[in-house]
Symmetry: C2
């Protein structure tokens, strides 16, 4: 089944211990759509400026992504500048220029609304809620968020949690949202806030999945060559939702399998700057690495 | 096959968000021997003072542990006072009184030397080396260490690494020892220092196993009720070595399975203060939880 993602499209300048990239393609909806399009038809909803290189749109289209809801607005594309040090678990932001993204008010076409799988990538929770009101009928609605909104808009985030079916967030955000240090307990508390599913991303430590009273820890795939973690979380969510949409059924078993797919897809993103590795990744390569991941856990 | 552990036996006073324990049984050799004795015959080598309660010795004996190499020295037993906050990943030490442990010079009986499986729990690396010289013939020699020795005795730790077959250490220690932030790379660098096997403990994030060019991440078993993590690492090592000794063969497959056993055994230790939960844990309970752990990873 096809899915829709609403989120940011950016031009990133990133420095890591492995090197740097300037004005390279980034953004949550970009990583998510490239990851999920490995598994299913994807509609991307977002906004770019008139400076946005056509080659990036061509890349999305080449992957079969529907770009009819990609608005081109007067002004410049969202730009982010950041760096990673040490174990690269946290980015340091040096500069953020929202540009056309500041006024982003997603207008979702009938075709994109009609999809049964809807992902609200990290945007202001009020904007996410506006999107959610347009896609209430969906079979699965999943949201992401970030520390900024948990800090500045906690009531909006909590209201949204009462309306979505699932949330994906990182370990720090899960602790911040619940005030709990134990992620198992935090995951259960998040479900008490509304959603049926919580997926906690833990970077190099994998992910924790909470649904139907079950809690599962899945480890990371061992990555020898971490070049740039930017977009790993969005690629993870894209791999997870893409698998779920291609599978059709949403239950504990398929969610866990989706998370395993997300973990594996994210490793490709981390092996190069921007989408340089993910854009040439094939479903066959994902399945090969997934088989290695399963073997790793077969003891 | 039987195994021998050489390490500390202590009386701990511990405070965690869940409560406190005073002058409770602790020490690396204690946790290790109680964990490993679930799987095989264990000889404990250590020293206590004349104040050491007989009930603790009785508990070891009741578990079938050979205490013939448990010296009783003139003076007081090693005492540690510490606390945990937040996610309880790191202990804060408030007081350490080495007492009789300061002069610990392990004299290993012929019976304990004869065992094919030998574990050098965390002690000064020079003392560990003295032990290793007595057990060179062993089929498997494994060491633990700590940040203190990596900082103050790096040359001794590295010399020892050239002589043992395996090392178990935590993530911070692996990074400190190798200067690497990526644990996959750190694990491989440790093998370049000598041992054939490196097992990196990651607390609530499970463990990483490196052997024969393979790297495996195993997640933690999801623990809802973390009361006191003291001794978790030693229980993990005990579960791992106990399984290996009971299995007999040491190879990548059995090491990985041993690590899975260690992960599961350590969860029992964390569910209560001191050895209160571990001492009443049965092999049947371990196997039941291991089956749940396997199910968790079967997606």
């Amino acid at each position: 089944m096809p899915l829709t993602v609403v989120g940011s499209i950016a031009l990133d300048s990133v420095t890591t211990p492995a090197g740097k990239a300037e004005n390279a393609l980034g953004g949550s909806a970009t990583y998510f759509s490239m990851a999920s399009s490995l598994f299913t038809k994807v509609h991307i909803v977002g906004v770019v400026g008139r400076d946005f290189p056509q080659e990036h749109v061509d890349m999305l289209v080449k992957r079969g992504i529907d770009t009819n809801d990609l608005q081109v607005a007067k002004g410049e594309t969202f730009r982010w500048t950041g760096s990673y040090d040490g174990d690269m678990s946290v980015a340091e932001t040096h500069d953020t220029q929202l540009n056309v993204f500041a006024e982003f008010n997603p207008q979702i076409s009938e075709a994109s609304k009609a999809n049964d799988f809807q992902f609200l990538a990290n945007i202001h929770p009020t904007v996410q809620r506006g999107v959610l009101q347009q896609v209430r009928h969906a079979k699965l609605t999943f949201m992401d968020t970030m520390n900024l909104w948990i800090n500045t808009e906690p009531e909006e985030v909590k209201a949204l949690l009462g309306e979505v079916m699932g949330i994906v967030l990182n370990d720090m955000e899960a602790k911040m949202l619940t005030g709990e240090n134990n992620l198992v307990v935090a995951g259960k508390k998040i479900l008490e806030m509304g959603p049926k599913m919580a997926v906690i991303k833990k970077g190099e430590h994998g992910a924790t999945v909470v649904m139907d009273g079950q809690v599962v820890n899945l480890p990371a795939y061992p990555l020898h060559n971490l070049v740039d973690p930017t977009g790993a979380g969005d690629s993870f969510a894209g791999g997870m939702m893409g698998y779920l949409a291609s599978h059709g059924e949403v239950n504990f078993e398929s969610l866990r399998r989706g998370v395993a797919h997300g973990i594996v897809v994210a490793t490709f993103t981390c092996e190069a700057f921007s989408l340089d590795r993910l854009k040439v990744t094939t479903l066959e390569q994902v399945e090969e690495r997934l088989a290695e991941y399963r073997n790793m856990l077969d003891f």
